[in-house]
Amino acid sequence: MKSGTFPGGLSLPVSAAGVSKPFESVPPSQTVIIPLKQHIGEPCAVSVKKGAEVKMGDLLGESESAAVHATVSGKVTEIIKKFPGMSGGYVPAIGIESDGKNESGGFLEGSDPMSLIQKGGVVDSDVEAISLHDKLTLAKEKSVKALVINSVDVEPQMISRASILAENAKEVASGIDIISQILGITTVYIGVSENAPNAISAISGACSSAISGACSSAHVVGLKAKHPQSMQELLVKALLGKEVPTGGSPEDIGVTVISVETAFFTAQAVNDKKPMLERFITVAGNGIGSPKNVLVRIGTPIKDVLEHCGVAPGHGGKVIIGGPLMGTAIHSADIPVTKETTGIYLQKEGDIAEFPSGVCIKCGLCVEVCPMRLMPLLISGFSESGSYAMAEANDILSCNECGCCAYVCPVLIPMVQWIKLGKSEIRAQRSSE
C-alpha cells in the first residue's frame, strides 16, 4: 500500500492514547434544542406545533435537502425564531422536553435511496455542512467519476473518523456501495490516516469480503498523519494527484468527497430506514486528558456531553467546536450538538495561545508549511494594511484557513485573523459590485 500526502502542513504529535476507541453513548438530555438549519441552504420549514407530543425520529422540519427530526420523545416546548447558529447568524430551532421514555416513532417510508437520504436528514460535515442529497445531486450533474471517502479526522487530535471505520466498517462499506450506486460509479478511494492501522485493516477486510459493489474494488490508502490532510482539496491531491482548480470544487474535476460518518448514516437511512439522529464526536484537548469518543444525539447541550465525559469547562477556559487549529470557540456550553459538530476540544486557562503579533522576521516558516503554497506573510500583511487588491492578487481567496502558518510563526502574527478579514472584505466588495 502506498502512502499519500501533500507538500507542506504540520506533523503534529498525535495523541498517544491509541487511535481508535469505541463510542460511548451520551444519555439523552432533559431538554434538547434542535436547530432547523444544520447545513448550508435554507432552514427547514417547521412541521410541528408548540405543545405537540413527539417520538424519536419524528419529523420536526422539512426541506428539499435534509429533514430534521426529534432525537428524544417528549413535548415540544418552544419554537425559537432566532437561535444563534454555528456558522454565524440566527436560525430557527425547536426545543423539546424529554419524557424520559425514549420511544421511537416510525421508520422512514419509501425505498428510493435518494429520497431516503433526504428524508433521513443525512448531512455531510467537513469544513462546511452540506446535505448529502444536495451533494449527490451536484455530483450527478457534474457526472463525477470517482468517490473519495474521507476517513481522515478533521484535526490530528480527533479520533472519531478512524474509530468509525474500526468499529463500523460493515455499515460504512454498505453506505459506500449505496452512494456509488446512486452515482453510477465504481472508482472509490478511502483515505485513512496511516497511524490508524485498526481502521485500515477493518475497512480493507469489509471491502475484500464484499462480493460485489464498488466497495469490493475500493482503494484503501494510508495517508501521512499531517494537518490539514482532512481537507477535501488536499485529500484529492494525496489520493488522485490532481488539484481542485482555484475557486472550484472537487466535482469540477470529477470527484466527490464524502465523509466516513456520512457513509454510515446513509447505510442507516437506506437499509434500516432510520433518520440521522446522532453524531460521532471526539472530545479532546488538554482539558480532558486522553480523548474520548462519544455518540451524541443532535440537540444535546455541549455541557451535558462534557458532564458525561467528567469534565467541566473551567472558568477562563475555552470550549471549541472542531479542533484546536480550525475550530470555533463558543461563548456558552449551552449550545447544542448539531450535524455540523465535527468534534469538541477543551482548553484550560493558561493553555490558550495568544497572538500579540510581532514584526515579521521573514523566516519563511509560514511559506514552508502552507499547504496551498501561498505566501501567508504577504497576504496577511496586505490584509492588515488594507491593501485588499494586492492580497487578492496573491491568491488570498485560496487560503483554506488551516492555521498552519500562525501555528509556526515565531513572532505570533495572528495571520489567520488577518486573512479572514481580508477575505470577507474582498467578498463584500465583490457582492456589492
Binding site: 475555552k318 475550530g327 490558550i352 514584526v359 521573514k362 523566516c363 519563511g364 505566501m375 489567520v416 479572514k420
Partner: protein
C-alpha cells in the same frame, strides 16, 4: 447549572511554541562546537574576542534601542548571536576597540536603523565584517597559527591566491582543514564542527535545508567545472568546500532570515548564486574571502528572488 465564563478568541487556538529566543538559543547551541575548537586552537585570544564581541553587541543593542526610544529587546538573544558570529569571523588577534566598532556598526546598520530585527535588508554581521575589512585590513589579517608544525602564517585561501594550488598541500592537509587545524578566523576553520552545528540547525528546523545545500552545491559544481578541466591550476571542490568559511557562510550567514528569501525556489537560487559567486571571487576577485562577500552581495537580490513564488494550489 450556570455555565462558567468561557473565553472566545480567534483561530488557531494553539501555537507550536516557536519563538525568536528559541531560534536564537538553538543557533547559539549550534555554534558551540565551532567556538570550542576555535578556543582549543587559539586559546585565551579567542576567548577574549568572543567575550568582547558578545558583551559589546548586547550593550550596543540596549543603548541604541534606548536612544531610539524602542523597547529594549535584548532578551530575544539576537544581539548575542550576531555578536558571537561576528567574533567567529575575526582573527584571534583583533584589538578590543576594533571589535567594539564592529559590533556598533553591526547593531546600528544591521538592525536598529531599519527599525529593529526583521526589517534589515542586509546581514548585520556581514555589514560590520565588510566595514572592518575595509577600514582595518592589517588588523583583519594579522594571523596566529594554531600550535603545531606550521610553515605558513597565511590562511588556506591566501595560500591559494598568492602561492597557487600546488602549494596548498605543502601547508595544509584535507584532514587539517576538516578539523580546523588551520590559520584563519576564530570560528571558520573547522568544517567538521560547523557541519555538526549546521546539522543541528536543520534537525531543529531553525533553518531550511535549501540555502545551505544549494550554497554548498553551487561551490562544488562551479569549482568542479574548473578543476575537471585543469586540476593543475584550480583547487579541488573539496578544498573549496572545506576552506575559507564555506560551511560557516552556508549555514550561519546566508541563512540570516531577514536578508534571505522566503520562497522555496528563491532560497535554492539564492544559495546557489552565493556558492557560485564565492568561487568566482576566490578565483578572480581582489579579495579571497569569497564566501562572505558573496553572501553580502547576493542578499541585494533577495527582494527579486522573493518574487519567484510557488505555483498556488489549483492555479
Amino acid at each position: 447549572m450556570k455555565t462558567p465564563e468561557l473565553v472566545v478568541s480567534a483561530v488557531p487556538h494553539v501555537h507550536g511554541g516557536n519563538s525568536i529566543p528559541k531560534m536564537m538559543m538553538n543557533t547559539l547551541i549550534a555554534l558551540i562546537p565551532a567556538v570550542v575548537i576555535g578556543i582549543y586552537f587559539f586559546g585565551m585570544d579567542a576567548i577574549r574576542v568572543v567575550v568582547i564581541a558578545m558583551a559589546s553587541a548586547v550593550a550596543w543593542e540596549a543603548i541604541l534601542q534606548k536612544i531610539m526610544g524602542r523597547p529594549i529587546a535584548i532578551s530575544n538573544l539576537s544581539g548575542m548571536v550576531s555578536g558571537l558570529i561576528l567574533a567567529m569571523l575575526l582573527p584571534p588577534t583583533a584589538p578590543w576597540w576594533m571589535i567594539c566598532t564592529g559590533t556598533f556598526v553591526m547593531i546600528l546598520l544591521g538592525k536598529e536603523i531599519y527599525g529593529g530585527l526583521g526589517n534589515n535588508p542586509f546581514n548585520g554581521v556581514l555589514i560590520a565584517w565588510v566595514v572592518l575589512q575595509m577600514s582595518y585590513p592589517d588588523h583583519m589579517m594579522y594571523w596566529l597559527a594554531p600550535p603545531g608544525d606550521f610553515m605558513t602564517e597565511a590562511t588556506p585561501l591566501e595560500v591559494l591566491k598568492y602561492e597557487g594550488v600546488g602549494s596548498i598541500a605543502e601547508h595544509f592537509t584535507i584532514l587539517g582543514l576538516f578539523i580546523g587545524n588551520t590559520t584563519g578566523f576564530i570560528g571558520e576553520g573547522s568544517a567538521l564542527m560547523l557541519l555538526i552545528g549546521g546539522a543541528y540547525l536543520l534537525i531543529r528546523k531553525v533553518v531550511s535545508w535549501r540555502i545551505p545545500v544549494s550554497f554548498l552545491g553551487g561551490i562544488v559544481l562551479f569549482s568542479g567545472i574548473f578543476w575537471l578541466t585543469n586540476s593543475e591550476e584550480y583547487a579541488s571542490p573539496l578544498f573549496h568546500l572545506l576552506a575559507g568559511g564555506s560551511i560557516m557562510a552556508a549555514f550561519f550567514l546566508a541563512t540570516d532570515m531577514p536578508s534571505s528569501p522566503v520562497t522555496p525556489a528563491g532560497m535554492l537560487i539564492y544559495g546557489f548564486l552565493c556558492g557560485v559567486l564565492a568561487v568566482v571571487i576566490r578565483l578572480w576577485g581582489a579579495w579571497y574571502d569569497g564566501a562572505y562577500y558573496a553572501v553580502f552581495i547576493i542578499s541585494i537580490l533577495t527582494p527579486l528572488l522573493d518574487k519567484i513564488k510557488s505555483k498556488v494550489y489549483g492555479r
